[in-house]
Symmetry: C2
Subunit: 297 residues, 2 copies
């Protein structure tokens, strides 16, 4: 992997994805090689055009000579893994570019779930020499908010009309957005959606006001401005000490998720205990106490 | 609450929602009053018409004389609580009916999150004498799947066209659907959506094949058939021994979530530990070990 072998890198990411026991020693060995890659999260409802925007951003960062990795994470399903995620075909634009690495990751198997696996995969990509890492997540919800917390900068995509802006607000994703992208901005309701978003942002009191960028990712329109706003946020993060704060929180979340995952493995509820709760002879809190006592807590 | 005081009931649900310490003793006291109410989950993307379908179902169960409760749960946001959820105005149809209780619940505060709070609220409503409890959740994703696991029967709503069926499949919600509802079935693409859903269901090997029901909830069209299919599933659950199995799993999930919540409170990552992970001097797994050791695990 250190020598730039893409298949070796893919195998290490698979270890992270599958919660392979060897991840622990691999992560230890990789630690000194981590330089602090720039991590950009992209999220938005299905159909917002995340894959196309991601692909366009990859192109933009490649023009600057940045080795760029894409991690497409599907937190929404415990069943399908990442198999159905995104339109990977779009990414074929970069298929022959050795400076680009693209990988989907589902929610199977990891100790601590995607909340632990995503930052681990970011470390691996960082150690493998990727200076820019794009994390693409499908959906808008709490899981996406958690994934977003692994990024330095989070871009939230919406499409004009359809109440997307309102839905994003409902799902709490506006609170995590550092940059808002109205994609498919050749549609009629674009200006109204931009206005809606701006008025919602105006209500927030955070020190960084997320800019609203319009793009038509299929033609590349607006991608230059999007990159400019992402860069502006990246510069602000450094100025304000926010970058270090976010990375501290990211490390904290990662450790919590791992510790939590280890505890979960030990906290299997015996049938007999569940049955007593189901038939009402034992309160759920008392059952939880019994369970915790049984593992020494 | 036992005497039918609605405000007392609302206060108990608030205790559950806020993770109030008194919940433990309240749940213990309520245990003998629990009769095993029928719990129906309704989920679907924003705009699918969940509130309207829920309201129509409330009307149908009320016609049979069932005391009916609605728990509208918003798992999508750690920020907005339940404040923005649904269109509660629709529910005003039942505002003066003492046999109906409607309550929103957000994701703040609870020990064990909504995964613990939802079954607790169900117990409270059951003990308060509601024979049918409808759990309405917004969104399609893993959180909704978890909420659905608290129900005996889960209905998933989609709207015609717009790729809703495909999105539901991506999000893994088809796997948890006991009944599929194509609402707003006066729209042109209804038959195609029904066909798409049927062909997706045909691939599954589960013993219960979810029926696909079309409704126009605003006019009441199809609601009778929906109730018939919900009843058919309820009867199947009893025949097959599946009802007891699901309730055992529900109790297990509830105990796990509570035990888990208690552990989470103890697993706060100290700044110093997070800083060592952030600067690369300590691997995340080693940090998790340190953290677990510090609480005696």
């Amino acid at each position: 992997m250190r020598a730039g072998d893409v298949r070796a890198l893919a195998r290490v990411i698979s270890m992270v994805e599958n919660g392979d026991g060897r991840v622990r020693s691999v992560m230890k060995e990789l630690s000194p090689m981590i330089t602090g890659a720039r991590v950009i999260g992209l999220t938005g409802a299905p159909g917002a055009g995340k894959s196309t925007v991601t692909s366009a951003l990859v192109g933009a960062f490649r023009e600057r000579g940045e080795r760029t990795a894409v991690l497409a994470v599907d937190p929404s399903s415990p069943f399908t893994g990442g198999a159905l995620l995104g339109d990977r075909v779009r990414m074929q634009d970069h298929a022959t570019d050795e400076g680009v690495f693209i990988r989907s990751m589902g929610s199977r198997g990891q100790l601590g779930g995607l909340a632990a696996a995503t930052p681990q995969a970011v470390r691996v990509l960082d150690a493998a020499g990727f200076g820019v890492i794009l994390i693409e997540t499908v959906g808008v919800g709490q899981a996406e908010v958690e994934i977003a917390s692994a990024a330095d900068t989070t871009a939230v995509l919406v499409v004009p009309g359809m109440g997307d802006a309102v839905q994003a607000a409902k799902a709490g994703v506006l609170e995590v957005a550092d940059v808002l992208v109205v994609n498919k901005a050749d549609r009629p309701e674009t200006q109204r959606t931009v206005r809606d978003l701006r008025s919602m942002i105006a209500l927030a009191s955070a020190p960084w006001k997320p800019p609203v960028v319009t793009t038509v990712a299929t033609t590349g329109a607006g991608i230059g401005e999007l990159v400019r706003q992402l860069d502006r946020h990246w510069a602000w993060l450094a100025e304000d000490g926010e970058r270090a704060r976010r990375r501290l929180e990211r490390a904290r979340d990662e450790v919590t998720a791992l510790a939590f995952g280890a505890v979960r493995e030990r906290l299997a509820v015996p049938d007999e205990l569940a049955a007593r709760v189901a038939d009402g002879t034992l309160g759920p809190h008392e059952a939880a106490d019994e369970l915790l006592a049984s593992v020494g807590l």
